[in-house]
Each structure stands twice: as structure tokens, then as C-alpha cells.
């Protein structure tokens, strides 16, 4: 089923009288259950595209349909609600709250949701990334790889339609990075839509489809022929 439908999307940044085009004539569709990598060098516009796709930013023109709804017409409050319900974020720099426990970090999106059973949902989510033994650790007491797994648990906790992972392995060593990619592939295998933003081909090759962007235009949009399957310690995830 179609999840995202982008038609003639355009984004300009205006500074004073100077208009800088960032994205131009972007068209693609993403179906539920896909694992798409958006690739491009820095300054290509891939981050801006991700921000628009994840309702953090608005396009200058064009149509963005999410689950069949044209979201360009909605106000900020509705977009916040939509982010809470439909989007999970995994950032390069984890963005965990300092001086806060792992469990409370995962509970954060629930505070803004209509859900009630915070503890139960957060624990379930942490279990799925293999961190049940770290619930009451503070975020400065765990490793980088574990931090990113906490972030994935946080992204999952509201059961979103799609997970946006923005350079999720960028701050990790290769082993931890591998674990994170393994988790993302596993989530995709379970049916979750994943959109990965990266500038590394190695990372992008974990996806099933790569959309390449350069200077605000789509360069190519094709399936990955020789997909990398992350091979992490299977005992990690129960």
C-alpha cells in the first residue's frame, strides 16, 4: 500500500532577497514495508528532503501525500501529532536526554501521545532492541552502540508507520554500526517502513532501494541489486 507520494516537490530558502533553491522537481512514491536509502553528498538537499518527509519542515510547493492525505494543508499542531503517531526518528548524534535514565528516554514520545501504559510500552520497546538490562542506567553510563539502540527503541515506542534514520551509524564504530543496521533490517523484515538518509554507499546498500540526490535533483531511483545483510550477534535480540 502506498505510504508516501511526492509530486513536483520544491523547496527554496529565502534569505533577504536571495532565494536559494534546495530541492526541485522531486517525484517518488514509497510503499509500506519498503527500506529506502536517500543518498547524496552533503549539501545535496537530502536532509531537507528528510525534514519535509518527516513533517519537520514544509515544502515551498508541490504535493506531499502521506497515507493518502495531502499534509501540506495541516497546521503545526496537527503535524506535531502526526510526527508523534506516524514517525520515529533515529539521529546520528543519538539526541538522548542527559541526566535521564534509558527508560525515561524511551518514554519521552509517549508523554505527547494519547497512550497510557508508558512503562509497559517503553519496556517492550527496549526489549526488542536487547536492552532490557539497561532500563535504569543513565545515558552517560552506556556505550555509543547502546545509545543508538535506545534511540531506536524510542523511535519504535509509539508504533510509527515509518522510521527515519539520519546517518544512524555515523558516530559509531563498525561493530556497533553493524548492530544498528541489523536492527533496522530486522524491523523492516517485520514490516516496518524504513527511510535511511546517508552519504555512505556501504550503509545505503543495506536498504532495498536507493534514491540518489545531487544539487536538489533526483539523480537515480533504483533497487539495490546486491544488498548487504547485516550480520550481528543473533543472541543480542531476542
Amino acid at each position: 500500500m502506498n505510504l508516501i507520494n511526492i509530486k513536483n516537490l520544491k523547496k527554496d530558502y529565502t534569505t533577504g532577497d536571495v532565494v536559494t533553491p534546495v530541492l526541485d522537481d522531486i517525484n517518488f512514491k514509497i510503499d509500506e514495508g519498503e527500506f529506502v536509502a536517500i543518498m547524496g553528498p552533503s549539501g545535496s538537499g537530502k536532509s531537507t528532503l528528510m525534514h519535509i518527509l518527516s513533517f519537520l519542515d514544509r515544502s515551498t510547493s508541490g504535493i506531499y501525500e502521506f497515507k493518502g492525505e495531502n499534509i501540506t494543508v495541516f497546521d503545526d499542531n496537527y503535524l506535531a501529532e502526526l510526527r508523534n503517531k506516524e514517525i520515529g526518528f533515529v539521529f546520528q548524534s543519538f539526541n538522548l536526554l542527559p541526566r535521564t535514565t534509558v527508560l525515561d528516554n524511551v518514554k519521552l514520545p509517549l508523554l505527547y501521545s494519547k497512550k497510557k501504559n508508558y512503562d509497559e510500552l517503553a519496556k517492550k520497546s527496549l526489549e526488542s532492541v536487547g536492552l532490557s538490562h539497561r532500563l535504569n542506567y543513565y545515558t552517560n553510563q552506556i556505550s555509543g552502540g547502546e545509545k543508538q539502540r535506545v534511540a531506536i527503541a524510542r523511535a519504535l515506542v509509539c508504533d510509527p508507520a515509518v522510521i527515519f534514520a539520519d546517518e544512524p551509524t555515523g558516530n559509531l564504530d563498525s561493530k556497533s554500526g553493524n548492530t544498528v543496521m541489523f536492527l533496522l533490517q530486522q524491523l523492516n523484515d517485520q514490516g516496518r517502513t524504513i527511510i535511511l538518509v546517508t552519504h555512505e554507499t556501504d550503509t545505503a546498500n543495506h536498504a532495498k532501494r536507493i534514491i540518489r540526490i545531487k544539487d536538489g535533483h533526483i539523480l537515480s531511483d533504483e533497487p539495490v541489486l546486491h544488498r548487504t545483510i547485516a550480520d550481528a550477534d543473533k543472541d543480542l535480540i531476542k
Binding site: 501529532e81 526518528f89 508523554l111 501521545s113 524510542r154
Partner: protein, 421 residues
């Protein structure tokens, strides 16, 4: 997002930064403690001053010689001799002043009292037998002078407890029956007037900022004519039976004295009748005004504390920019972010207020202990209104000074906030 979840979140945030939280609330704490202490001290002082006035006895009127000077100060050195002994006799007429229960003429001044080779300073008061009734005091030893002694002008004296102690405590001699010499500081009566001690008054403490235990009492004519060498009176005290009769008694006194002094026109009135209640009212007004002034001063420190909150909240918002970005990314609305920071600011100031109240009450209590120890009749008073007001004002300070940083936080763009280093 429900309120309870926000409160839990905010409390967690404040606890995670204990040191800063404590420093932040310090300004508010000092301000609130200041308000509490000042209100408490104001009430205590008012209580003390009014207590001093009422200690002289309630339902008391006094007549002074001379007309009330509504404008201008009295002429220095001018002695008004309009009140005389016959006025007292006229006022004692039950038919004319029916509600007076005791009437006392007063002739007083500074004096020295000598016994053997000891000479000490005292205040002397020539008065009538009724005085203990008017001023509410009791005897420690011996008797106050009798009507016969008074009207006969017996050479007797009653000592205040301090005077008795200073003169006789060393030697262990029973003061009753001893002869002391009283000499007015204003009048040159060689050697002083010899008087026999017939009584000692029980300790009374201070009233009107004069130690009541350092006063000696003698029959009016002795004090007036022998010690002071005058023939007029300095004041007449009149005790009224019930407070509703005060105004009618004032009228009675005016009528009697005008007749005594042959005054037909009010312009020529040469005496003033004063009511103790008036004095109480005036004192209350003054102390209330002083309290208000001091509270305003303490209020300034609350504002300064509020600006401290403003500063810290601005710093907090800047420091937590990424957190705000993250919260927005995971679904926090502007309103949720604003409420979180607003609640954080008002919780900070509320906490500061509560700590301030605890310190303020504690310090007020300690001050009351010190005052009581120093011999003042001090009451420890903390009103509920001052506590409720303090909490209210401090929470309000948090909302007022927290609003700007909270709005600033709410307006942050999530993308910029997430990128913020």
C-alpha cells in the same frame, strides 16, 4: 500531554540539576523570607506598642492642661497652670461625672532618692489613692497610701520594685518604715523631702518606654507642693467603667471643667481631654504604614529574585535547545513546550517561596525569643495571609518571569534546535 506527566517531568529535571535549582531559588527564598519576617516583626511591634498603651489600664481618659495645639509646636518652657486641685474635686462629683470609677491627679517629675549614703535617680509621681486602680498594679509589700494619708498630706512614699532593690537589696534592710529623702531635679529643696516608705510595688516592666519599676509614688500634695513646689497639676487620669460610656464621660468632663474655669466660649478652652483609644488608633495607623513600607522594600527583592529566574530560564532554554528540538520532533506541540518551561519556572519560584516561608517563620520565631529574653512583652505572630500571599506572589513571579523564556523555547524551530551545538 497531561499535567501530571508534565509535573513529573519537570520535577525530574529540577532534581537532575540540584545545585542550580538551589542557587536559582535563593533570590526568591530571600525575598519571601524577608516579607514573612517583616510582616511578623511589624505585627509583633504593633502588638508590643499597643500592649504598652493598654498596660496603663483600659478605658482610660486623661486631661492635660492647655488647649490642643492643632498646628505648630508648643512654646518651649511655657508652663500651663490651668489644671488645679479643685478641678479634681469637681470631677469626683458622681452626679456630674457618673461613669468615672477612679480619678487621679498627677504631679510628677525627675528626682533623686537618698537612703543613708545611697542616692539614685527616679521618677516621682504625686497622685491619689486611686492610682493602683487606674494603672492596674499590685503591691509586693506594705500598702499604697490611704485616703487619710493622701488628704492629710502624710510624708509617706511607695517605691517601685527597682528603686527598692537598688536602695535596700545590698543591706538586707526591710524597706518598710525606712526614711528616704526625695529631691526634685528641677526644684532646689535643700537636702530633699524626708518620706517614710510604706509600700513596694510588684514588678511591672516597661511601658511607654519608661521602666515602671523606677517610679516612686507619694500623696499628691507632697509631690506637688513639697517636692515640686507648684500648685497646679500636670494631668488628671480618669478611668471609665465601660467603654461605651467613654464619649459621654468626655462630654461630662468638658462640662465640669468649663464651668470650673468659667469658660463660655470654646475658643478659650484651656485643657484637653484625651482618649487612650485615639492613641491606639494613631499608633496602629503609623505601624501599619511602616509595615507596608517595609513590605514594599521586601517586594523589591522578590522582583530581583524574579529577574534571577528570568536569567536562569533563558540560560536553561539555550542549554536545552537540542532537547527542545527532540521533544518537538517526537510530537511536542508549542503549547506543551511552553507549559513545561512555564511550570518549571513557577515550580522553582514556588519552591523558593516554600523554603523562604520556612526560613522566614524560623527567623521570626528566633527574633521573638531574643526579644522576650531582652524583657520585651513580644508576641510571635505569623499570619496565614502573609504565607498565602508569599506563595502566591512567588508562583506569580515564576509565571511572569518564566513566560518570556517559555515562549522563546516554544518558538524554536525543531530542525535548527536539533542541529544546535
Amino acid at each position: 500531554m497531561n499535567l501530571f506527566a508534565i509535573i513529573k517531568l519537570v520535577v525530574k529535571n529540577l532534581r537532575a540539576r540540584k545545585g542550580r535549582t538551589l542557587l536559582t531559588i535563593l533570590g526568591i527564598t530571600i525575598g519571601v523570607a524577608g516579607v514573612i519576617i517583616i510582616i511578623s516583626l511589624g505585627a509583633g511591634a504593633q502588638n508590643l506598642i499597643l500592649g504598652q498603651v493598654t498596660k496603663l489600664g483600659s478605658n482610660l481618659l486623661y486631661v492635660q492642661p492647655g488647649k490642643t495645639a492643632e498646628s505648630g509646636a508648643p512654646i518651649p518652657g511655657l508652663v500651663i497652670t490651668s489644671l488645679v486641685n479643685s478641678d479634681v474635686e469637681a470631677l469626683r462629683d458622681k452626679a456630674r461625672v457618673p461613669h468615672a470609677t477612679a480619678i487621679n491627679a498627677i504631679a510628677q517629675g525627675a528626682s533623686t532618692v537618698t537612703w543613708g549614703n545611697k542616692t539614685i535617680d527616679s521618677t516621682f509621681m504625686g497622685t491619689d489613692t486611686d492610682y493602683p486602680k487606674v494603672a492596674n498594679f499590685t503591691m509586693d509589700a506594705g500598702e499604697f497610701f490611704s485616703d487619710a494619708e493622701n488628704s492629710g498630706g502624710a510624708n509617706v512614699v511607695v517605691l517601685g520594685s527597682e528603686i527598692s532593690k537598688k536602695l535596700f537589696a545590698d543591706s538586707g534592710v526591710n524597706p518598710i518604715g525606712q526614711i528616704v529623702k526625695v529631691k526634685s531635679s528641677a526644684q532646689d529643696t535643700a537636702g530633699g523631702v524626708p518620706l517614710r516608705v510604706i509600700g513596694v510595688i510588684a514588678p511591672r516592666g516597661s511601658s511607654f518606654f519608661q521602666n515602671q519599676d523606677e517610679i516612686i509614688f507619694m500623696p499628691l500634695v507632697i509631690g506637688q507642693q513639697q517636692v515640686l513646689g507648684i500648685h497646679h497639676l500636670q494631668a488628671i487620669y480618669i478611668k471609665v467603667d465601660e467603654s461605651p460610656n467613654i464619649s459621654s464621660t468626655i462630654d461630662n468632663i468638658n462640662t465640669v471643667l468649663k464651668q470650673q474655669h468659667h469658660i463660655l466660649d470654646d475658643i478659650n478652652i484651656d485643657f484637653t481631654v484625651r482618649n487612650q483609644e485615639d492613641a491606639v488608633k494613631i499608633l496602629s495607623t503609623i505601624t501599619n504604614a511602616l509595615s507596608l513600607f517595609l513590605i514594599a522594600m521586601a517586594g523589591i527583592s522578590l522582583v530581583v529574585g524574579g529577574i534571577g529566574i528570568l536569567n536562569i530560564m533563558m540560560a536553561t532554554v539555550a542549554e536545552r535547545t537540542r532537547e527542545i528540538g527532540l521533544r518537538k520532533a517526537v510530537g511536542a506541540t508549542k503549547k506543551a513546550i511552553r507549559n513545561q518551561f512555564l511550570l518549571e519556572a513557577s515550580l522553582l519560584t514556588g519552591l523558593g517561596g516554600v523554603v523562604g516561608i520556612i526560613f522566614g517563620v524560623l527567623i521570626s520565631y528566633l527574633i521573638s525569643l531574643v526579644m522576650i529574653n531582652m524583657g520585651y512583652d513580644w508576641a510571635f505572630i505569623v499570619s496565614w495571609i502573609s504565607i498565602i500571599l508569599s506563595v502566591g506572589v512567588s508562583v506569580l513571579t515564576g509565571i511572569v518571569f518564566g513566560l518570556f523564556p517559555a515562549i522563546k523555547a516554544a518558538k524554536l524551530d525543531p530542525i535548527d534546535a536539533l542541529r544546535y551545538e
